[in-house]
Structures are given as C-alpha cells and as structure tokens.
C-alpha cells in the first residue's frame, strides 16, 4: 500500500466539510427561532450544493428554515444536501484509497429505485426528527427525546425497517443520556448531524431498496468487523469471493440483531452466531462454498445458511497475501456514500510500529498511519499484540480528517514462531481460557433475561 498518498491533502474536502459544519452549527442551536448566524450557515449549505440537481430545493429549504418556518420536507432537503456533500467527500477519499491500494473499483450501474408511498410508521419518525431539528442539540429535553420511543418500538419488529430502527434507537439513547442539552459543555455536532440526516434520508420511500442477484464460488474470509450500540449489534465479515468462472472481488456478509443493553462482549456473538454459519467458518479458519447466494450490487451477501457449505481450511493471511491484491472492489450505493462507510480491507507488513502515549502508528515505507486499536472487540487481539505485530490485515477507514487502520488480525512472533491473532476469534465460539469464562458469564446473563421474558412478557 502507498501510505504516503494517504496523508496528502485532498482538493475541496475542506470546503465541503465547512458547509456541513455551517448546518451543524444551525442544528446545535435549533431552527425554531433562527438567528442571523444560523441563517448564514443555512445559506452557506445551499450555496455549496447550488450547482447540483438538489440546488433549488435546498435553497428554498434554507430560506424557510432561516425564517423559522421549515416543514418536514424542508428538513429533508437540508439533510439531503448534507449527505450529498459527504457523498462528494466519500468519492474523493475512495479515489485516493484506490490509488494507494492499486485496486480497481467497479461502476455503479443500478438505476434509482421507484419511490413508493411512505408508510405511517416512517412518517412518525420523520416528524420526530423535525421536532429535534427545531429544538437543536442545545434544546433537547427528556420529553422531546422520549417521543422517539413509541416510534422505535413500532419499527423494530419489521426487519425491512431495521436500518431506520437501529439507527434511531442508538441516536435517541445518546440524546437521552445528554439531556438537558442546555447543560452540555461540548456537543458531538458532526456525529449527531450525521445520524440526524441519515435517519431523515431513510424515511424516504425506496431509499433502502437494493436489487439483488445471486453468486456461486469460493468465499475466503479475511476477518470480522463488529458494530454495536447499547441495544443493537452487527457482525460484518470481510472476504474475497472467487466466483465460478470469474475474477475475485471483495464482499461482505452481515448479521445483526437488536439486543438488551446488558448483553455485551461474548454475549453479542452468542446472539449473532446461530444466524450465520460463516461466523463459525471464520473462527475455524475455513473457506465457504457458496451456491446461488443472494448478493447486492454493493457486494453485500444476503446470507442464508442453505446456500453455504463449509469448505477447506483457508488461512486469512494467505488470502491477504495472495488473493487480495487481485480482487476488485464493488461500488457503493449512491445514498450510502459517506466517509464512515469506507472500510477497505488492506494487508500490511514490513512496517515499524511506534507507540507514543496512547497513540499507535505504523510507519509504512516511512509514512505513518494511525492504528485504531479501540475498534477491536474483546478477544485475543489486544492493543499490545497489535503494537508488537509484524503483519496486519486491517480495514482502512477515515474519520475526523485522517485515515486510520482498524486491525482485523495480526501476525506476531512468539518463541520464534509466527502466531496469528484474530479480532473475530470469538465469533464462532471462544476456546481460550478468558473467552470460555466470558462465554459462561454471557450465557448466564442471557438465561436470566430469557427466563424473565418467558415468565413475565406474555401475561
């Protein structure tokens, strides 16, 4: 990887983020009675997208919002403008990543979905999000935030609405813990602006439609990435697929579930494990043979165990060394183009690990890249192991103005032997001493909750 390219400045990114920050400032104080400074921020946002197809709609929305008269549709266009700006930042970043990795990216050729009718459930979410924008982050209180609860409870049981439900659930929990907003001494304005605009976008009919095809071939896992908030978790396996009669490309396979906030650590794997046999394959270091597995144009396998068969052993480090350099990258769906979505599998070796206080960097060919060990879930892959490693499979990510590598697995040397440690080692079931203890504690917690649910829930 050409790490030197990752620290070079990118044209236009600063300007795009400044326009985003202008909207975020307006959202901080709220749009109920906007002040001149907020009006200027809204105008700056409208100006930044004026040449795009959104231009006139956003200009109108910014005018209405500046007058304190914005309706739900207007908030939707402000959110769309913010997302479009991040789309442009995303594209600039992935172009740079592709240069650094030398990989080719496929073109997005799927036509836009036909927007249907918005459901009432989704419109209730939109209405809450509009109220939040009027109050602003500094104006949130318990009454306002708890208004999301019935909406979330109604959304959660429907897997097709899970994207919106899981997002709102995590977002509302953060807002609830931050009430009253007037007492906050600092505000995660970028983050909450992201979550707010994404949630609004997901209320647009057709926004989450993803046409699928099917694929057959050999799946070679690279590692597992975990995402979690208090009441949801998702495991995402990154892998290379060698399709029958085709050239290899990068894919992901995901499994997610809502969970009570007291299910954490090993308990999360226990919740997810029964629903995707791939997690077992990953822990055992095996390949998987796929037959007619559904897949989206973004390279997301829509996993169904009946289309998968456990295959031969496949060392992720061999995959990373031999197959990964030949793999191409599927495109990202237009609405999902956001820097946070960038998680590009990379293989690194021959770096010099440097630890200064709590910041770890890998110097690759003399260029330092930050290492995000905080993103590694509990398991045998510890920050110390990463710092002492010789080779690393990771995900290249970007946030707060810099690229970082999130380790998925490392090779270290112990007693003159090479040892591999994986972030997802516990995914299919822990066998090490610490892991077995964690599994036991998690089983106990889940047993209590199931027993209580069985006894009390259906009365």
């Amino acid at each position: 990887m050409r790490a030197d390219l990752l620290s070079d400045p990118l044209d236009g990114v600063g300007e795009a983020l400044a326009a985003v920050a202008a909207l975020d400032q307006a959202l901080t104080t709220g749009l109920l009675r906007p002040q001149p400074a907020q009006a200027a921020g809204l105008a700056a946002l409208a100006d930044a997208v004026s040449a795009s197809p959104l231009g006139s709609k956003v200009a109108e929305a910014a005018d209405k919002a500046a007058a304190g008269a914005a309706g739900e549709e207007h908030f939707l266009f402000l959110a769309a403008a913010r997302i479009a700006l991040f789309g442009s930042v995303h594209d600039a970043l992935v172009a740079r990543v592709d240069q650094a990795t030398g990989r080719t990216r496929q073109e997005w050729t799927v036509p836009p979905a036909d927007p249907g009718q918005a459901e009432n459930l989704v419109l209730a979410a939109r209405s809450w999000l509009a109220d939040v924008a009027r109050a602003g982050w500094q104006g949130i209180d318990h009454d306002l935030v708890s208004g999301a609860e019935p909406v979330i409870s109604a959304l959660l049981p429907h897997p097709r609405l899970r994207r919106l439900a899981a997002l709102l659930d995590g977002f509302a929990a953060e807002l609830a813990a931050s009430c009253p907003g007037s007492a906050l001494d600092r505000i995660p304005a970028r983050r909450w602006g992201d979550l707010w605009s994404r949630a609004l976008l997901l209320t647009v009919p057709g926004a989450t439609d993803a046409p699928t095809s099917t694929v057959s071939g050999r799946l070679l896992p690279l590692g597992v990435d975990l995402h979690e908030h208090a009441t949801a978790a998702q495991a995402q396996v990154h892998a290379v697929l060698e399709p029958v009669g085709g050239t290899p490309f990068l894919v992901r396979a995901s499994v997610s579930a809502p969970k009570p906030d007291t299910i954490i650590g090993a308990g999360i794997w226990q919740v997810l494990r029964p629903h995707m046999s791939l997690l077992t394959a990953v822990s055992e270091g095996r390949s998987v043979e796929l037959t007619d597995m559904p897949i989206t144009a973004e390279g997301d396998l829509l996993w169904q165990d009946e289309h998968a068969r456990l295959g031969e052993p496949a060392d992720p480090f061999v995959t990373a060394r031999v197959v990964l350099p030949t793999a191409s990258t599927p495109p990202t769906a237009p609405l999902d183009r956001h820097p946070v979505r960038i998680a590009v599998p990379v293989f690194l070796e021959g770096y010099a690990a440097e630890q200064t206080e709590d910041v770890l960097t890998f110097a690759i060919g003399g260029s330092p890249v930050g290492v995000d060990t905080d993103r590694v879930p509990a398991g045998p892959l510890t920050p110390e192991a990463v710092a002492g490693s010789n080779a690393c499979i990771g995900l290249l990510r970007w946030d707060a103005g810099a690229f970082r590598v999130q380790p998925l697995a490392v090779e270290t040397t112990a007693r003159k032997k090479t040892v591999a440690l994986h972030a997802g080692a516990w995914a299919g079931g822990a066998v090490d001493k610490v892991g077995v203890k964690a599994e036991k504690a998690a089983t106990d917690a889940a047993t209590v909750l199931r027993e209580r649910a069985g006894r009390l829930l259906r009365k």
Binding site: L17, A21, S146, S153, R162, A166, L167, G170, E174, A176, A177, S178, R186, I187, P188, A189, R190, L195, H227, E228, H229, A230, A232, A233, Q234, Q236, S254, V255, S256, A257, P258, P260, D261, T262, I264, G265, A266, G267, D300, W303, H338, V340, R341, D374, R375, V376, D399, A400, G401, V434, A438, A441, D444, A445, V448, L449, R450, A453, L456, L457
Partner: protein
Amino acid sequence: MSDWESASTARVLPPARPRKLAKVPFVELADGRLQGVVSSGSDIERVYVSSIAAGSYEFACSTNNNRPCGGARGSFCNHIHALITESVLQYGVDRVARYLRVEGTDLDAPALHSLMLASRPSQADSAAAAQVFSRFLRHLAYVELPPTTSPLPELQWFPPTRSVV
C-alpha cells in the same frame, strides 16, 4: 473544532459494564429516576419495581401486582439497596451520582446509599411503578426481536468497545 466534535464516530456513551443479572435483571437511568426491577428471593413469579428520583431521592418500591414493599416504609428497602449497587456496576459510580445529583468525593455504592438516606428522602406513591414495569417488558422484548442478514450500514457509526462479559 476538536477532533471529538468533528468525528462521525465520536464516543458519546461509555460502554456498558458487565454485571450478573440474576438478582436485578433491569436497571436504568431514565425519566429523571434511577429505576429498575428486582427479582423476589422467595417467589419466582414476583418482581419488585423500585425507583429513586434524581435530586429529591424520593423513593418507591412495590411488586409488579402493585402491592407495596414491606421493607420500604420510611426508609430504603433491600431492593433499593440492590438497585443502587447494580446501577453502579452497570454505569459506573460517577454516571449514577451525576444523574441522581449526589455530590461527594470518593463515592461508591454504599456512600451513595448513605448520602441519599441522610437527606431523609420522602416516600413516593407507586404511580411510576406501572411505567417502570412496562419499560422493563420493552427491554425484555429485545431478546425476542428477529435478527437479519441484510446489512445495516448505519451501524458503521457505532464502533465496538473492548468490554468483556
């Protein structure tokens, strides 16, 4: 703007901490109260719904069938004691103390307990119990919600933590 303020994945909530759930299956800081559910030691069908209000420390404890708890007459009962202890395990003492507005240095669960008692809090009626119990049921319902293998790109905003159960 600081890195935290300009980070999409800025951490806002500290990770939950592991605790055993057998005695107190549910604890939360919500609705201006520390509230939760404590399983009865003698009757498997019975749970106690307990709460302490932030600021006033007004407390309440009753069963899920709305019978008052015999121990909570004029003072904190054992259920409220267990609620405080478990909330400190789950959220950390600082977050619990800040939410309840208890001030002090070197706080721990027993100190929280005695500082709140020292202000002679009054006993609330059991009006909140039904709401707390329904929030507990909502919490339990998460165990039974169906998983999905369709990707949730929005969870990219929620990176994991290193906490171990």
